[in-house]
Symmetry: C2
Subunit: 336 residues, 2 copies
């Protein structure tokens, strides 16, 4: 697989850049911040599989490469999107009261709320400094354009998170609301990764647009798939309880679809806590209403849109194209 | 007073720019975020005196003007430093568990922790977009240089906050530690305000340096003064309990000074909670050890440094110079 061989080349460079940023850009006197960051990034007290997959930086580097750019020059931007993603995880874990991530305690669980909020903020600033390094490695115009896309994305990320938290206690969520939320929470950062990759390559406006749409569609397909697996995935593979999405009353795509089909379900589905029998019953109701099929069709739709957009790119590097295609298939045919 | 007449001109423009940013750059579907932001900024459910004083944006605009720049062009940067300051307040209030600010409930108290953390994050992103507007109003180089200073400052801010929280439970804090903390928490953002003001004016490196030092020294003097008033200020004027700093066991400058003079005090001062008599006793111990005089001398030292740095600037606008001098005197002779 071409993806594998490129990842073997890229992943260590991404990790080096991330470490450089955390260890060199945070002044020494703030030792605790560095400690929390390196714990969260999986560099301390972790085993390999507990680290994040670094999907976003890989996609960014491949987007630079597909347009004929040098992916090495995009490394600080790749590290920046990963740091942005991880800053949002540190805060999300607090907001969702999640005590575990990748099988380890979350930062707030170990260091307390206050330090965790603040370390998230520090990581957010650090990610911005990463993007700004493009000013030295490429040029100031590229850095400026990239950091603009980056911060518009941050607004979308927080907007998506706001909607997610609001919808949790709101029975009246429509599928429009759902897609607004997912566009912010999941798709925006993937779209920013592909678009910034294109900006670093200094490619055409058309390529930048196609890559943006590719990233966005990939994100939407990925989220629909994730929602599907949260109800119908195989438990030992997903690592989280198959039913946790139904238990927590999360407004995932199948649920929102079912609410639109049968509004009287809302009352029933808002009842918490529920036992295992009720979870099975709810999953069955969703399936009978066509929510399983619908969710599969949404994944399919956005997967097709992603591939179509990728094919629209004027390709300067076939390996990168092949790798992005493989990555799309890998992400969207996973069963965990 | 020249300061007053300039403030009458500048303050409404600052407020308009802030409102433009919050109301126009946050997409409409995120209504709750806009609502929380405008509440926090004092635009809803507040009376005039409950709004922030907008000191930082004023200082930024005056720094542009003193170098002969057009302060109107610096408005988005001025709004950005105010938003950055306010984002940090939203998060600090959570971290310090403060339920009130300017006599009103804090954002987390009204909307809950999760929404408040997220709205702070959104305001942080918004502040970055403000700086980036300099790309249109001035040029890309100015925007790039400014956003670099801005994000290095954010790292310092979070670093200072980290030290502050760490020191709260640490008896071994030295005055070196104290100044590290205050440099990050208070002085860094004032130094960034004056420096970015200079950058927007596209002035000499020397002017930029002098204005940076002016802002930094002003911040250090201000904090020493604040620590003084927290113990020896007049209660009806400060609006907060005269003794709250001593009650909370905060490691302010007089306390840190006293700990260095008499290490055996540490045990005694760490005892919480304490009653009013004990507060008076502690204040007296500090005064007898010379902590009151020392704190006054630190304020004096940094005030002199600030004025000296301001005088070193090659002044293109005398009114702005006069206004900055008046502002320095106003901030550092206040008794509340």
């Amino acid at each position: 697989m071409i993806l594998d061989s490129l990842m073997i080349e890229m992943l260590p460079k991404i990790e080096d850049t991330l470490k450089d940023m955390v260890y060199k850009k945070i002044p020494q006197q703030y030792t605790g911040i560095v400690e929390m960051m390196s714990y969260h990034m999986g560099w301390t007290n972790s085993i390999e599989k507990q680290k994040g997959k670094r999907i976003r930086p890989i996609i960014l580097l491949l987007s630079t490469k597909i347009c004929g750019g040098e992916w090495q020059k995009a490394l600080p931007a790749a590290a920046a999107v990963e740091l942005l993603h991880n800053f949002s995880l540190i805060h999300d874990d607090i907001e969702d009261q999640s005590e575990f991530r990748h099988g380890r305690n979350t930062v707030w669980k170990l260091w307390g709320l206050s330090q965790a909020i603040n370390t998230g903020d520090a990581m957010f600033s650090l990610s911005q400094l990463g993007i700004l390094d493009l000013g030295n490695l490429v040029n100031i115009e590229v850095a400026y354009e990239s950091i603009k896309v980056f911060n518009l994305t941050c607004v979308s990320l927080t907007g998506g998170q706001y909607l997610d938290m609001t919808f949790e206690n709101d029975k009246e969520i429509s599928s429009d609301n759902y897609f607004q939320m997912v566009s912010g929470k999941t798709a925006a950062l993937l779209a920013a990764s592909t678009e910034i990759g294109a900006i670093v390559a200094q490619t055409t406006i058309a390529n930048r647009k196609h890559l943006h749409t590719f990233g966005e569609a990939l994100g939407l397909a990925f989220q629909a798939q994730d929602d599907y697996l949260g109800i119908w995935g195989e438990e030992p593979l997903t690592g989280k309880s198959r039913s946790s999405d139904l238990k927590s009353g999360k407004k995932t795509l199948p649920v929102v679809f079912a609410f639109e089909k049968m509004p009287e379900l809302k009352e029933k589905f808002c009842k918490k806590p529920i036992n295992d029998d009720e979870i099975d019953e709810r999953a069955m109701i969703l399936e009978n209403l066509g929510a399983k099929k619908y969710t599969e069709s949404v994944t399919k739709h956005y997967t097709n849109l992603a591939i179509q957009s990728l094919n629209a790119v004027e390709i300067s590097d076939k390996k990168a194209y092949q790798a992005l295609l493989e990555l799309t298939n890998f992400l969207l045919t996973r069963n965990k």
